[in-house]
């Protein structure tokens, strides 16, 4: 057993040992880059040195088999160097220009998907879903798969006015960056949780449970030595369930997903923005959620058709106005779209100027 070598608090290995030599040499001295194709770019250093990046789609959920396979490829063409991106793509770091075409060929042969660079859809930031999380209202990996099957060409070839960042989170904890994505899917509940009072007594701290509720819907139920929920106030966030599992929020009949749009995090042109509600609900329809996929596609393509070059989805919508967004996409406006949370006041229209 290797247990003798157990250490603590050593932190991650130093990044330097993982950098290809050309990067070590030109670290901090890159001059410009050029996007050569939807999945290949070159960065040129002040020294004239170059590094080619070949980006490949990843389902993020990888078996060790696949990791070994990409390692083999990286050994062959990248001297054993590669990286992952902040959106979970794989980047092969090719120092030798000649290898670019070769690695491309091999990747294609092996069925890898090259793309995601430039003004297009890149990989979908997402979360655990039914694969691993107790909190999930839907499955994240499945939604990503069916979405990207449909939007495949927007990753590999087609151009859009700007980058479109997609995300999926399986509950309102939003472990993905759903709250600031161009288009995102978030799992939602729609009914007040059921309470297993006996288990509450055993497993939960009542004050913590009460405090966990953002809308103050939970109050003590002294008779039952448990808690009760005011249905009028509950917004089904599931926060109570996280701190007190016997308050079960799951309800296959009423759980599903919402689509939010228009978020961004970069500061280019306009301030970072929160995503806003586009469509409040779809029933879970696994394995391929066709209604959700076509709704996302509709939004994406309406944007592609109407936005100016370099406009992100949120910028486009703010320019044309949300009333026009609903008209162009044909999405129905419902009571759910009207904010009723803390900042509702700031969302109501305070101007006589708007479009029909």
């Amino acid at each position: 057993m290797a247990l003798l070598q157990r250490k603590t608090d050593i932190g991650p290995p130093h990044y330097e040992q993982f950098l290809p030599p050309v990067i070590k040499k030109n670290y901090g001295k890159w001059k410009y880059h050029e996007i050569l194709s939807p999945g290949i770019m070159v960065h040129v250093a002040e020294s004239g040195d170059e590094i080619y990046t070949v980006r490949v789609a990843s389902p993020r959920l990888l078996s060790t088999d696949t990791i070994r396979e990409i390692s083999d490829i990286a050994d062959k063409y990248c001297n054993g160097y590669l990286r992952f991106t902040s959106r979970n793509n794989i980047e092969f770091l090719v120092s030798n220009k000649k290898n670019v075409e070769l690695i491309k060929k091999e990747l294609k042969e092996k069925g890898y998907t090259i793309g995601g660079i430039g003004s297009r859809v890149s990989n979908v930031v997402h979360t655990q879903g039914w694969v691993h999380c107790h909190s999930a209202c839907t499955d994240a990996s499945g939604l990503v798969k069916v979405l990207m099957d449909e939007l495949y060409e927007y990753f590999t070839t087609k151009e859009l006015p700007n980058k479109v960042r997609l995300a999926v989170a399986c509950c309102v904890n939003m472990c993905g960056a759903v709250h600031c994505s161009d288009i995102a899917i978030v799992g939602v509940h729609r009914k007040t949780p059921t309470i297993n009072h006996e288990m509450v007594i055993k497993l939960c701290e009542i004050p913590t449970t009460i405090a966990s509720c953002p809308t103050r819907a939970i109050s003590p139920d002294p008779a039952k030595k448990s808690v009760k929920i005011n249905e009028e106030k509950c917004m089904y966030c599931g926060n109570c369930f996280t701190v007190c599992p016997p308050i079960d929020i799951h309800d296959p009949e009423n759980d599903g997903v919402a689509i939010v749009v228009g978020g961004k995090v970069s500061s280019l042109r306009s301030d970072p923005k929160f995503s806003k509600l586009a469509i409040p609900f779809f029933y879970n329809n696994p394995p391929r959620w066709p209604e959700v996929v076509s709704a996302v596609k509709n939004i994406l393509e309406t944007y592609a058709k109407h936005a100016k070059k370099h406009e992100r989805i949120g910028e486009w919508i703010e320019r044309i106005g949300w009333e026009r967004f609903f008209k162009l996409t044909g999405i129905e406006f419902t009571f759910q779209h009207l904010d009723d949370f803390t900042f509702s006041r700031e969302t109501f229209r305070t101007s006589a100027a708007f479009k029909w």
Binding site: P59, P252, R269, P287
Partner: protein, 394 residues
């Protein structure tokens, strides 16, 4: 291992061009019961439209309070392989650079002790090993640490810091994102491994306002590189963009949020740098012609998070400009002060941004020793209910 479950629904997700996570599952399922029972339970979820996982409780390794997410099936009889299904978070190297040697090392350990399934990477940045039993945690930990790897954060603790690729492969980085992240991660090892905060605390570092790590949306402390001084213009390259068909007026000039660029075919591009807010648009869209100015530093922003409980927040500018040179002492000291203040004022499960919002920006700034500056706000307050401290009155 023989195929254990029929998965007609999940099989549908092997179809289509995008890489299939079901295929990954099936690969691992060939060798691992965790993976194969995981697949079986997932198929059931697809059939019944609900998850079957129980909230984890506390599992972990000796001396650490985090780094492992405990997870149990609520159907252990039906799917014994995932009766335990814990996640091990490994602190990734800055910028997610790897050698294949390192990757294989991780794979070897994981094939030995776990499901063979991973997430490259988790949303916070960790390498995630997905699915193992409680009794394997200590061995995995020993194997990892003996080879130079350590666990990432979880629970009410410092979380694994992460950063954009930065100076390693990007021409715009104003700071050494990789080094800062490494240095901070080392600095806060204790806080990372032994949850003692009111709630989680995340740090993310981006080399510029493009923010390829989404730090402004999901980090309690967002460090974003920036500069002072003039944007450098290569007029020859400007001409080349024009020649190659770029509509500079429409794509650059008209899209500059501060209206500080002008363009003339003969004169080329002119930037009124006084008015530039360094949004990065022009630089990003004409990267061969334009480059950031010379005096490098960063903006520190605080408070972003996901919606629960008080609604989603973006990070707020606290320190408009700070120089960041190793050993980043000022940054570390400031970070400690921020955390200290949060710790003193926050209730359990309150993020730092929530505490600042409820206690007010002023006490926070006063505690960390930062003066009020117009850069910290989009606009000054509107309703005239100003608060006056005794010291403000003469």
């Amino acid at each position: 291992m023989a195929k254990k479950y029929e998965t007609p629904l999940l099989d549908e997700l092997e179809k289509g061009p995008w890489p299939s996570f079901v295929k990954e599952f099936k690969k691992a399922a060939k060798r691992s019961e965790i993976a194969s029972d995981g697949l079986g339970q997932l198929e059931k979820s697809y059939r019944t439209k609900r998850g079957y996982w129980k909230h984890g409780g506390i599992v972990g390794v000796l001396g650490y309070g985090g780094g492992v997410i405990g997870r149990y099936s609520s159907l252990p009889e039906e799917f014994p392989g995932v009766a335990h299904n814990h996640t091990v978070r490994i602190n990734q190297p800055s910028g997610w650079f790897y050698t294949t040697k390192a990757l294989r090392e991780i794979c070897d350990i994981w094939d030995k002790y776990g499901s063979g399934l991973t997430n490259f990477h988790g949303s916070t940045g960790d390498m995630i090993l997905l699915g193992t039993r409680t009794e394997n945690l200590e061995p995995i930990f020993s194997e990892l640490t003996s080879r130079g790897w350590d666990l990432g954060g979880s629970g009410s603790a410092m979380r694994t810091p992460s950063c954009c690729v930065g100076p390693a492969r990007c021409e715009w980085s104003n700071i050494d994102t990789l080094d800062i992240t490494y240095s901070i991660t080392q600095e806060f090892q204790d806080e990372l491994h032994r949850p003692a905060f009111p709630y989680k605390f995340k740090i993310k570092t981006a080399g510029c306002a493009v923010d390829c790590i989404a730090s402004i949306a999901r980090a309690d402390l967002s460090i974003i590189g920036t500069w002072k001084g003039n944007i450098k213009i290569d007029q020859a390259e400007v001409k080349r963009y024009a020649k190659n068909g770029m509509d500079i007026q429409a794509e650059i000039v008209d899209m500059c949020p501060t209206e500080c660029i002008s363009y003339d075919k003969k004169e080329g591009l002119t930037i009124n740098n006084e008015e530039c807010n360094r949004c990065m648009h022009c630089i990003a869209k004409m990267n061969k012609a334009l480059r950031p100015g010379d005096i490098k530093g960063a903006t520190l922003l605080v408070g972003s998070k996901a919606p629960i409980v008080v609604g989603a927040m973006l990070s707020w500018v606290i320190v408009p400009f700070i120089e960041l040179k190793p050993p980043y002492q000022e940054l570390k000291d400031l970070t400690r002060k921020m955390i200290e203040w949060w710790d003193e004022n926050g209730r359990a499960r309150e993020r730092i941004g929530e505490v600042i919002e409820s206690k007010g920006m002023r006490p926070f700034l006063e505690y960390i020793g930062v003066p009020p500056m117009p850069q910290q706000v989009k606009a000054p307050r509107r309703d005239p209910f100003f608060f006056w401290a005794k010291t403000d009155l003469k």
